[in-house]
């Protein structure tokens, strides 16, 4: 999975323990009212093997940020207004062939070597020797190779994210056809390297490239047995993937249509599909919002267990703070297209620094509030059409100072791990600079 060609030279790099790094990401939308700054300078890191929670209220840009990883934001109306998403894919650990050893921390995988220097360390990789890709700049073909294989996504509503017209089997099979056709041929006992017409047809079948008449040919005797072996091999892979998510009787379930399954089952299918190729990064966009609490608890357990076993990094998006606290290692709080605060989960809940985070936590109903006394945040989220250079939270903020309406507070580290974008924690820059914002210099 490592083509020996160099993709775009990375313009920003990430620290070694980081698998993905969003740097000053800006995604805007053209609308009748003007340009909506839906995501406007978002910066955060996802560390290797961690679960990072991205929380915020409706419309603050969580999904747009998540979709940007896979370039799934529709353009137009979307506009890639800047920034980059650096990603370090992993490859199979050479010492243990994926079995797990000390060198790879029992994960069986190590960072892929930089194609420019073969791991020696060069300018491209800032001396780290690891391959770093800018997801917003790689070629379409490379992006497709990453999707579903190295980076996978779970959507909010499993009822909508599964195609109603295809069986579960047909949908999960696609992942294997796209990314594991060599393994399928192997398992089916087809010699993938020969160049006979039969093999070519089967090879195309295993990569889901057959078209029109080929299907008819594949159904005829000389090829039929090969095709059936491929089907059997894929079925086995699908059954294994479904079994991982504790679905009973996977061989039966996989022939069902999505509407024949319960919500929880559907989300398990989505998870099985997302984890089928053992991705390095899993993006979960509110995976339990559409589910019941008891089902939600099971799904969360499942995600957590699979994540810990496979050491997959997870970007977990939610608007439910208590849930994020339960499953995330670190949290980034988003407000109106910006990151307001990032920190470890523990700290953010014990010692929230940003007035918005504090407001959110206080607004959660609990036994300790007397009725009618919930601390609602007054006002509404600002329109994101051509926002002025001020703190996005000014106007609703209880701690607002005169400074807040004139300058835009940058996200700055206030103590180890904890970064806040608010003037009560750091001074505004000297002078009346135009828009003291994130240092936008990439791309």
């Amino acid at each position: 999975m490592m083509p020996a060609m160099s993709e775009k030279i990375p313009s920003a790099t990430c620290a070694p323990a980081v698998i993905a790094s969003v740097v000053d990401l800006k995604v805007h939308f053209r609308s009748k009212q003007g340009v909506v700054h839906a995501v406007d300078g978002v910066t955060f890191d996802i560390r290797d093997g961690e679960t990072l929670g991205l929380v915020g209220e409706t419309g603050c840009g969580k999904s747009v940020t998540a979709r940007s990883f896979l370039r799934l934001v529709p353009m137009p109306p979307g506009i890639a207004a800047g920034g980059s998403i650096m990603f370090r894919p992993r490859s199979v650990c050479p010492s243990c062939e994926g079995e797990g050893c000390a060198r790879c921390d029992q994960t069986g995988r190590v960072p892929a070597a930089c194609p420019a220097c073969a791991g020696e360390g060069c300018g491209d990789c800032a001396g780290s020797g690891e391959e770093t890709l800018d997801l917003l700049a790689v070629s379409d073909a490379r992006m497709r190779a990453l999707r579903g294989d190295r980076i996978a996504m779970i959507f909010q509503d499993p009822g909508k994210a599964l195609n109603p017209a295809l069986t579960i089997r047909d949908q999960i099979a696609e992942v294997f056809f796209q990314h594991r056709s060599a393994e399928i041929l192997d398992a089916a006992g087809v010699d993938g390297s020969s160049v006979g017409p039969q093999t070519i047809l089967l090879r195309r079948q295993a990569a889901q490239q057959s078209r029109g008449l080929e299907h008819a040919l594949l159904a005829l005797p000389p090829l039929r047995s090969g095709r059936n072996r491929i089907t059997a091999a894929v079925d086995a892979m699908i059954a294994a993937a479904l079994a991982e998510t504790q679905i009973a009787n996977p061989r039966k379930i996989m022939h069902r249509y999505p509407h024949e399954l319960s919500g929880g089952m559907r989300q398990r299918v989505m998870i099985a599909q997302a984890l089928a190729c053992n991705p390095d990064l899993l993006i979960a966009d509110e995976p339990t919002t559409a589910l019941d609490v008891t089902v939600q608890a099971r799904i969360l357990e499942l995600i957590r267990e699979l994540q810990q076993r496979r050491k997959t990094a997870v970007l977990y998006i939610s608007h439910d703070l208590s849930l994020v606290r339960r499953i995330c290692d670190r949290v980034a709080v988003m407000y109106a297209g910006r990151i307001a605060e990032t920190s470890s989960a523990e700290r953010i809940f014990q010692n929230p620094r940003h007035p918005y985070t504090r407001g959110l936590l206080a607004a959660l109903p609990s036994a300790s509030h007397s009725r009618g006394q919930l601390a609602a945040i007054e006002g509404t989220v600002p329109e994101l059409v051509d926002p002025p250079p001020s703190c996005r939270f000014s106007g609703r903020c209880p701690n607002e100072t005169e400074m807040c309406a004139r300058f835009d507070p940058p996200l700055e580290v206030v103590d180890d791990e904890h970064a806040v974008a608010c003037f009560i924690h750091h001074e505004p820059p000297a002078g009346s600079g135009e828009r003291p914002s994130f240092t936008a210099k990439t791309t």
Binding site: D292, T294, Q296, S322, L361, S366, H369, A375, T380
Partner: protein, 450 residues
């Protein structure tokens, strides 16, 4: 069957406490039709015998998982759909309610002439489906609903002015200038104002739309509002605004709320009493504090454990429920929760379906199962394709592979060639039993309370 009658604030005598609504054995079944002739082949028991009271001025929280019948119950309560069994009694005093319960507890065959008359009088005065004329109108205007999806329940082509004023116009409460003034008044009560009169629903945010729905529900000055997940589609900060608003209105107008939700932290915050539903039945009901501090039913406990809460220690493993909610068209015997209950006993209603469900997890065996010949829910013969499978099942049923309480509840499985004959002890439905003052639960464990 006096469900959850908790002590009311001091100073109120039984007679003076008014019950806005009393539900007694309320049922709503939906027919399932099949075949070319569309014959009714079964019933979805969406609500299956629910009893509880709503006192004036209180908030009753109704919680439960998706599909357990909360919305259906709310629609029956507010008169939007007619129950298929049982009844709701409107505006009944506590003494009358006690009298009614006493009469309902006597089997109909044993009613004396006097009983019959008394019952007929009570029903004519209070039973919702027997109300007529002005009494019916009074009931309809006194029970209003606010739905979860404010956008879907507001006509997108009507102005806010028309939406909020509609109930007033329909009931002939006001016209012309007075109508507009009353509408503005209502909007102001929910934190909107005159400037919003001439706008369409899509020009508002989610929270504002929910405010419009509330204003519309308030128009006729009702005593009871059914709130069907009023904040589920809202953000926490907006939710807080709406919850504060609802509380303010309750204080000002002495409203009673039936607050339907699946969010336990919300219900804990808003409700005086809580009713927990599972698969069309009430499994537990009691004061909010009691339910949260001393839950008695295993389902309530599981629900509480599964709901994330900030105050909770987040490192604790979440105890989770196995399986999914069974089909309400074929509710399990005995206790409906026994298919998922972590502490089920042999007396909980184990039945043939449990064996079939268990078999679904054994691929080989399940594929070999060719027929189930049922004599009753508790007795059946499982027919397999081959003798070996039948033998394997019989052996498994005697081993640790199946839950111990299930084994204990059944007779020794009899093996006849390719058939396995099963027989479970018959168990009747587990009813609600008193667990303390105003606290009831439907579970065979600890029936006497702790």
């Amino acid at each position: 069957m006096t469900a959850a009658t908790g002590p009311r604030q001091a100073g109120q005598t039984a007679a003076s406490v008014k019950l806005v609504l009393s539900l007694r054995g309320l049922k709503k079944h939906f027919p399932i039709r099949e075949g070319a002739l569309q014959r009714v082949v079964g019933q979805v028991r969406a609500v299956d015998g629910v009893s509880f009271d709503i006192r004036s001025g209180e908030t009753v929280g109704l919680v439960g998982e998706s599909g357990c019948g909360k919305t259906t119950l709310g629609r029956c309560v507010s008169g939007l759909s007619d129950p298929t069994g049982g009844a709701a009694y409107f505006n009944i005093s506590q003494t009358d309610r006690d009298g009614l319960d006493a009469l309902l507890n006597i089997p109909e065959a044993h009613h004396s002439e006097q009983d019959r008359e008394a019952l007929a009088a009570l029903e004519a005065a209070h039973r919702v489906d027997q109300l007529t004329g002005p009494a019916w109108r009074r009931y309809r205007r006194n029970c209003q609903v606010v739905f979860q999806d404010a956008f879907a329940s507001l006509n997108p082509r009507h102005l806010v002015k028309d939406i909020v004023a509609r109930p007033l116009r329909v009931y002939g409460e006001a016209t012309g200038l007075e109508l507009t003034e009353r509408t503005v008044e209502l909007l102001e009560q929910v934190g909107l104002g005159r400037q919003h009169l001439f706008r369409y629903p899509h020009q508002f945010s989610g929270g504002q739309r929910q405010r419009i729905s509330i204003a519309r529900a308030l128009a006729l000055d009702p005593e009871l509002i059914v709130l069907d997940e009023p904040t589920s589609s809202l953000d926490v900060s907006v939710q807080a605004q709406i919850l504060n608003l609802l509380h303010k209105l309750q204080q000002q107008r002495g409203l009673a709320y039936l607050f339907i939700t699946h969010n336990l932290s919300v219900v804990r915050h808003v409700a005086d009493r809580i009713v927990v539903m599972y698969l069309g039945k009430v499994v537990e009901a009691g004061d909010t504090a009691t339910i949260f501090e001393r839950p008695q039913h295993p389902y309530t406990k599981a629900l509480l454990a599964a709901s994330p809460d900030l105050s909770q220690d987040h490192d604790v493993e979440m105890p989770t429920l196995e399986g999914s909610v069974p089909d309400p068209a074929h509710p399990p015997q005995g206790c409906r929760f026994h298919t998922r209950c972590p502490v089920a006993t042999q007396a909980c209603g184990w039945e043939v379906d449990d064996v079939v469900r268990w078999l679904e997890y054994r691929e080989g065996l399940f594929d070999a199962l060719s027929a189930v010949r049922r004599d009753s829910p508790f007795e059946a013969a499982l027919v397999f394709d081959d003798e070996a499978s039948a033998k394997a099942l019989a052996a498994a049923l005697r081993s640790d592979m199946v839950p111990a309480p299930m084994r204990a509840a059944m007779d020794e499985p009899a093996l006849h060639g390719r058939e396995v004959q099963l027989r479970f002890r018959e168990v009747s439905e587990v009813g609600l039993a008193e667990r303390g003052a105003g606290h009831v639960a439907a579970c065979v464990l600890n029936p006497a309370g702790e």
